[in-house]
C-alpha cells in the first residue's frame, strides 16, 4: 500500500519527463517543403526553394508573397491549361522584372506600391513547361550593396513605421532581413497587421520566425509569409535563414545548411536566425537550449567562412565574435521590455556587403529616438 502511495511522487516526475521535446522544430522544418506550390486552371506553379508563399491562386490569377529578392518559378501546363496569367508579387524588389523564355508575352502592369508588382504573362497553347524568373535587373552583378537587419517588433507594432520611415530615407538599402518575433501573441490578425505595416516600407522584408510566432498556428506563417529555413543569393552574396524559434535548429535544418555553406564557402555569406546560439551574458542563458549545439553550429559556420551571424531575441544590441564569426544581436524593433541600462533603445542595423572583395565592409547601427 505504501509503495503504491509513493507512486504519486513518481507520477509527477514522469509528467515532467513527458513534457520534454527532443525535436520541437521538426514539423516546422518539414512544412517548408510544402510552401510555394499552387495549382489552378491546369497550371502548376512551383517556386524554387519555396522562396514565395502562394497567397492565392485561381484560374488566370496568382498572388505570391516573396521571401527573397530573386525568384525562379517552374510552371507545368496541362493540355488546355489557362494560357494568360496575372501574377501579383507582394513584398517584391521595387525594380523587379519578370522574364520567361517560354512566355509569348509579358506585360508589366506596375503596382500600387514599390513592393507590389503585377505582370500579365501569356503562354503559347503548345507550351507544357516554362520557367519564370523575377528579380531586379542587377541581381547578378557582383558589386557592393546595402541591406538592413532588424528583429523583435512584437509590442512595438504600432510604432514600427518609425523604423521603416527612417529606412526609406536611405536609398542604398535594397532590402531588409529579419530574425523573427514580428508579433507578440502570434495570431493571424497580428501577422496580417505586421504585413499591413510593411506597406510603409519601400523595400521588401525577408524574415525567418521567432519564438513569439509559435503562439499561433504554424500554418499562418506558411500561408502569409512562407518558409522559415531558406537560402538565396543576391549580387553574389549568400543569405541563409534558420528557424531557431525553439532555441534549437532541427537536425534536418543542419542537413540543409551544409550545402548552403559549401556553395558559399568562397563568397560572402550572411546567416540570420532568431536566438543567439550563445548569449554573450552567459549567466542569463538567453541562447540555445544546448550549449553544445551552439558550439556545433558555430563550428559549421566557421568552417563555411560565414561572414556574419545576425540574430535577436534579446532586446538590445550586442556585437561579439564566436569561432571567428562576427555575431550581432539586434533586437531593437520595439518589443517590450527593452533591455534597460544599455543605452541602446529601438534601432536597426545597416550592413554594407562587398561581394567583389568577399567581405562585409561595415555594420552600422541606426537608433530611433523615442
Amino acid at each position: 500500500m505504501r509503495r503504491r502511495r509513493q507512486q504519486g511522487t513518481g507520477a509527477v516526475f514522469v509528467a515532467l519527463l513527458l513534457a520534454g521535446c527532443v525535436r520541437p522544430a521538426e514539423d516546422r522544418a518539414d512544412a517548408d517543403f510544402g510552401v510555394g506550390v499552387g495549382e489552378a486552371g491546369g497550371a502548376t506553379f512551383t517556386v524554387a526553394g519555396g522562396l514565395a508563399s502562394v497567397r492565392s491562386i485561381e484560374r488566370g490569377k496568382l498572388v505570391l508573397w516573396a521571401q527573397a529578392p530573386v525568384l525562379s518559378i517552374d510552371v507545368a501546363l496541362a493540355p488546355g491549361a489557362t494560357a494568360v496569367w496575372d501574377i501579383t508579387l507582394l513584398n517584391a524588389m521595387p525594380a523587379a522584372e519578370l522574364t520567361s523564355a517560354e512566355a509569348t508575352g509579358v506585360t508589366d502592369g506596375g503596382g500600387p506600391r514599390p513592393t507590389v508588382k503585377i505582370w500579365t504573362v501569356t503562354f503559347d497553347a503548345t507550351t507544357d513547361a516554362a520557367t519564370i524568373e523575377i528579380g531586379p535587373p542587377d541581381w547578378r552583378m557582383i558589386d557592393p550593396f546595402r541591406f538592413a537587419y532588424m528583429t523583435d517588433i512584437q509590442t512595438g507594432i504600432d510604432t514600427v513605421t518609425d523604423l521603416y520611415d527612417r529606412m526609406n530615407t536611405d536609398p542604398d538599402i535594397r532590402f531588409v532581413i529579419a530574425g523573427g518575433d514580428l508579433v507578440e501573441r502570434g495570431d493571424r490578425d497580428e501577422l496580417v497587421l505586421v504585413q499591413e505595416m510593411l506597406q510603409v516600407l519601400d523595400v521588401p522584408f525577408f524574415s525567418t520566425n521567432g519564438n513569439h510566432e509559435l503562439w499561433a498556428s504554424d500554418s499562418d506563417w506558411e500561408q502569409l509569409v512562407g518558409v522559415r529555413n531558406f537560402h538565396f543569393v543576391f549580387k553574389g552574396a549568400h543569405f541563409s535563414f534558420a528557424d531557431s524559434a525553439s532555441a534549437t535548429l532541427d537536425p534536418s535544418v543542419y542537413d540543409r545548411l551544409e550545402p548552403w555553406l559549401e556553395q558559399a564557402r568562397d563568397e560572402v555569406h550572411v546567416f540570420a536566425t532568431h536566438y543567439p546560439p550563445f548569449d554573450p551574458i552567459g549567466i542569463r542563458e538567453g541562447g540555445f537550449r544546448s550549449r553544445k549545439e551552439a558550439a556545433k553550429l558555430y563550428s559549421m559556420l566557421a568552417a563555411g567562412n560565414v561572414d556574419a551571424l545576425f540574430c535577436g531575441h534579446i532586446h538590445s544590441f550586442y556585437a561579439y565574435e564566436v569561432a571567428g564569426v562576427p555575431t550581432y544581436i539586434s533586437g531593437g524593433g520595439g518589443a517590450d521590455p527593452q533591455e534597460k541600462l544599455d543605452g541602446i533603445g529601438r534601432h536597426y542595423l545597416t550592413v554594407d556587403a562587398n561581394p567583389a572583395l568577399l567581405r562585409l565592409d561595415d555594420v552600422g547601427i541606426v537608433r530611433i529616438e523615442d
Binding site: 542563458e285 556545433k296 563550428s299 569561432a323 534597460k340
Partner: protein, 345 residues
C-alpha cells in the same frame, strides 16, 4: 472530482490561515502519526501546487504542512525578489548576475516544496535515514544518449569517489563509443558542515574538458559552487526519510574552435528533492546546466531556451561492496544511465 477540488481549495485556505494566525488551543502539542492516502495525495498534487503543504495538512500533519508552506513562501519571495527587477530591467546585462541566482533558487525551493508535499501526503514519512557512503567508490556504467543533433548514442561512463573525512575527490569520464566525443571531469568537495541526519553544506570545485572531435570544438570549464542538503524530517513526521538539496555556483567556459576561443560564464543552480532508501537514496532534481550531454529542456513552447534539465537518479547498495546506480534525465535529449558500483567501506 469537483468536490475533491473544492475541498482541496478549502484546505489550502485553512492552511494559509493557520500559518499566519496563532496556534489553536485545541491543536495537539505532540505529532500524531500522519494518515496518508489518495485524497491527501491528490490535494498535494492539485491545490498543493498553489499552496504547498495542502496534502500533508489533509493527511493530518499540520506541522509538516506549515514547514512546507514556509519553504514555498520563502521560495516564492526569493523568486519574486529576483524576478521583478529582472523583468523591470529587461534582463539587463548589468543586473542579471544578481537577479538570475535569486530566480533560480527561489523557483527551486518553490517546486521542491510541492514535491515534498506530495511525498509527505502519499507516504506519511518513512523510518529510514542516510546510508553511509564508502571511503572508496568505483562506478562503471553505460549511458544511452540518442541526441539527434550529434552522431553518438552510446557512452561508457566511469567515475570514482575518494572520501577522507570532510573531503571528497571525484574524477569521472563520459566516453562516446560511437563518436569522437569525450567528457572528462575532476571534482573536489569539502563538506564543512555536516549533521548526523545527513544535512550538510559542501563547497565544490571542478574542472571539465569536453571534446567534440568530429565537430571541431572543445570546451574547458572551471567552476565553484556550494551545495546544501537539509533533512526534511525536521519539518514534520510526514517528511521523515526525505531531504532537500540546493546548489548555486558559477563556472567559466572556454570554447576552443580551430583558431578561436570564446569565453562564457556558466550559471550553476540545482534543486533536488530526495529520499533515503534502506541502502541508498533517490532524487528527482532540476539542474540549470546547459553544457552537459543532456542540454536544456525544450518544451516546444514559446519559452524554450533558458530552462536547464530535469532528472531522477537512484543509488542502492546490494551488499557492502556492490551496488547499482540509475539515472534518467530530460533536457534537449532523454538520457538513461545504468551503472554498477563497487565500494570500500
Amino acid at each position: 472530482m469537483e468536490g475533491t477540488r473544492k475541498r482541496g481549495i478549502g484546505v489550502a485556505a485553512a492552511l494559509v490561515a493557520s500559518l499566519v494566525g496563532p496556534a489553536r488551543a485545541d491543536e495537539p502539542k505532540i505529532d500524531l502519526e500522519p494518515d496518508p492516502g489518495v485524497l491527501s495525495t491528490l490535494a498535494a498534487v492539485v491545490p498543493g501546487f498553489i499552496v504547498s503543504g495542502t496534502g500533508t495538512y489533509v493527511a493530518g500533519d499540520k506541522r509538516a504542512a506549515r514547514g512546507i508552506v514556509k519553504v514555498q513562501l520563502i521560495g516564492l519571495g526569493v523568486a519574486v525578489a529576483g524576478g521583478i527587477p529582472m523583468l523591470a530591467t529587461g534582463a539587463s546585462r548589468r543586473t542579471t548576475g544578481f537577479t538570475m541566482p535569486l530566480v533560480l533558487t527561489g523557483t527551486g525551493l518553490f517546486l521542491s516544496s510541492w514535491i515534498a508535499d506530495i511525498y509527505g501526503a502519499s507516504t506519511g514519512g518513512r523510518e529510514v535515514g542516510p546510508f553511509p557512503a564508502p571511503k572508496l567508490e568505483l562506478t562503471l556504467g553505460y549511458a544511452y544518449v540518442p541526441d539527434p543533433q550529434f552522431d553518438y548514442d552510446h557512452f561508457a561512463v566511469a567515475s570514482a569517489d575518494f572520501r577522507r573525512g570532510a573531503w571528497r575527490a571525484t574524477p569521472s569520464a563520459w566516453i562516446a563509443m560511437d563518436d569522437d566525443v569525450q567528457r572528462l571531469r575532476a571534482e573536489a568537495a569539502w563538506r564543512f558542515r555536516e549533521r548526523p541526519d545527513g544535512s550538510f553544506l559542501e563547497a565544490q570545485t571542478a574542472a571539465t574538458v569536453h571534446r567534440h572531435g568530429d565537430d571541431d570544438f572543445e570546451v574547458y570549464t572551471g567552476e565553484v559552487s556550494i551545495l546544501a542538503r537539509y533533512d526534511l524530517a525536521q519539518l514534520g513526521r510526514s517528511l521523515r526519510g526525505s531531504f532537500l538539496e540546493a546548489g548555486l555556483g558559477l563556472g567559466i567556459e572556454t570554447y576552443a574552435f580551430d583558431d578561436d576561443l570564446f569565453v562564457s560564464d556558466l550559471p550553476l543552480a540545482r534543486a533536488a528533492f530526495g529520499w533515503h532508501l534502506r541502502r541508498g537514496e533517490a532524487q528527482i532534481y532540476y539542474d540549470h546546466r546547459h553544457d552537459e550531454v543532456v542540454g536544456g529542456l525544450g518544451l516546444g513552447t514559446t519559452f524554450d531556451g533558458p530552462y536547464g534539465h530535469f532528472g531522477a537518479q537512484a543509488s542502492y547498495w546490494l551488499t557492502d561492496r556492490w551496488g547499482l546506480e540509475a539515472q534518467v534525465e530530460v533536457g534537449s535529449v532523454y538520457t538513461t544511465r545504468l551503472a554498477i558500483k563497487w565500494g570500500l567501506p
